[in-house]
């Protein structure tokens, strides 16, 4: 049962901690980092609620060990809105389209959309909708999420 020193940058802030080898990135972010916006649902890679951005890519934080993220740059849902509270475009669009009900799956949905629309390559509607298949909304509020994803796609009128 090995212990590891872990250093990562989360939402622009450095976090140094220690964790057992078996601790998932999701648990580390929640427990050691206090980033409770990371929602752990199924903890075996099915639901997508725990999705965070690791070095620019949306990944499931329950399917990665904290020690594997040593040296990485991580963005959680807490890191998206501006300091003055202005929502990230993805968050604003989800809000306008009523794309959440209970909100449990929302941080994961937001992080996938933010990762895909935040880079240089602008994905089209089909690509965004396909990526949404990696998220389960148990309220079944998919239509709002679909509308938001379509609006965020390349070429869509804002």
């Amino acid at each position: 049962m090995s212990e590891h020193r872990i250093e990562m940058t989360i939402n622009g802030r450095r976090l140094v901690g220690t964790a057992e080898g078996r601790v998932s990135l999701g648990d580390f972010l929640r427990v050691d980092g206090g980033y409770t916006g990371v929602h752990l649902g199924c903890e075996h890679g099915v639901c997508g609620a725990c999705t965070v951005i690791v070095d620019g890519r949306a990944v499931r934080s329950c399917l990665m060990l904290a020690v594997q993220a040593d040296g990485s740059e991580i963005t959680t849902v807490e890191g998206l809105a501006a300091p003055d509270g202005t929502l990230h475009p993805v968050q604003q669009t989800l809000r306008e389209e009523h794309a959440l009900q209970c909100g449990f799956c929302t941080p994961g949905v937001v992080m996938t959309l933010a990762a895909l629309t935040g880079g240089d390559e602008k994905p089209n509607e089909d690509q965004l909708l396909a990526a949404m298949s990696g998220h389960i909304c148990r309220c079944t509020g998919y239509q709002g999420i679909r509308r938001a994803a379509c609006r965020l796609a390349a070429g869509a009128a804002a």
Binding site: S2, G21, R22, H44, L65, T112
Partner: protein, 289 residues
Amino acid sequence: MKPAPFDYVAPTTVEEACAILAEAGGGATVIAGGQTLMPLLNLRMSQPFILVDINRIEALKGISRSGNATRIGPVTRQCEALASEQLASDLPVLVKALSHVGHHQTRNRGTVGGSIALGEPAAELPATSVALGAVIEVTSVRGTRRVLADELYLGPYMTSLEPDELVTGIEFPEWPQGHVTLFREVAQRPGDFALVGMVGALTMDAGRVARAGIAWFGMGPTPIRARQAEAALVGKPISGLDAGMIAQLAVADTEPFTDHHASAEYRRTVGRRIFERTLREALDLREAA
């Protein structure tokens, strides 16, 4: 839903990784992308003493040409392979198969070698490597050996790899430009494991099928070569092919199972239909009267 305790090591060279695996005597498990292994660890279906993380071994990453073959490092992420221009041009069917592996979020971390080494019978990449005749390079402290993908799979998640062996390369033989690709998968939702799937490639020469490599996934305990169908195709003029008859031969080689997703009968029926339709569409065959 938390893994049992283990020691975690992250070697940076193949030699180091192999030495650890040799010393562990079967108590170690290799983690690459972890998109299948992490659920097994979280559910405690897998409880290794040592987890050997190969993500920091740079030599195991990347896509290159080795003679006429395409060589893929096992720790190449599925998303990177999916975006590879070289693969899109040389092995389009592999790219097609990759687009069906898991979800966008799991492909960002999952690796080509991890999927091939695990041998989930309903997964796309093991069947693709069997169909295309891939050779798996395997390394241990005892040396390096090469295994034909077709001889790698023994049962669900069971391969002919020894506990101390590490997959260090995957080589796909050349399929000439312009070859015909075959791929179809039936799943309940995008990203789910296939209920039934088939993948393969054909080359043509003067109106005849010159070479065929076709395999099933989700149709038995391992990926299964459609040997009888391949034999019925090779050497035959395209105009005289009976897609329905060949599909029947293809299904004859399978051993589908019944589970709570689908019955064996469903798999056989759907398998025969998708095989026939895929072949007909790929070769532009007319429907039998």
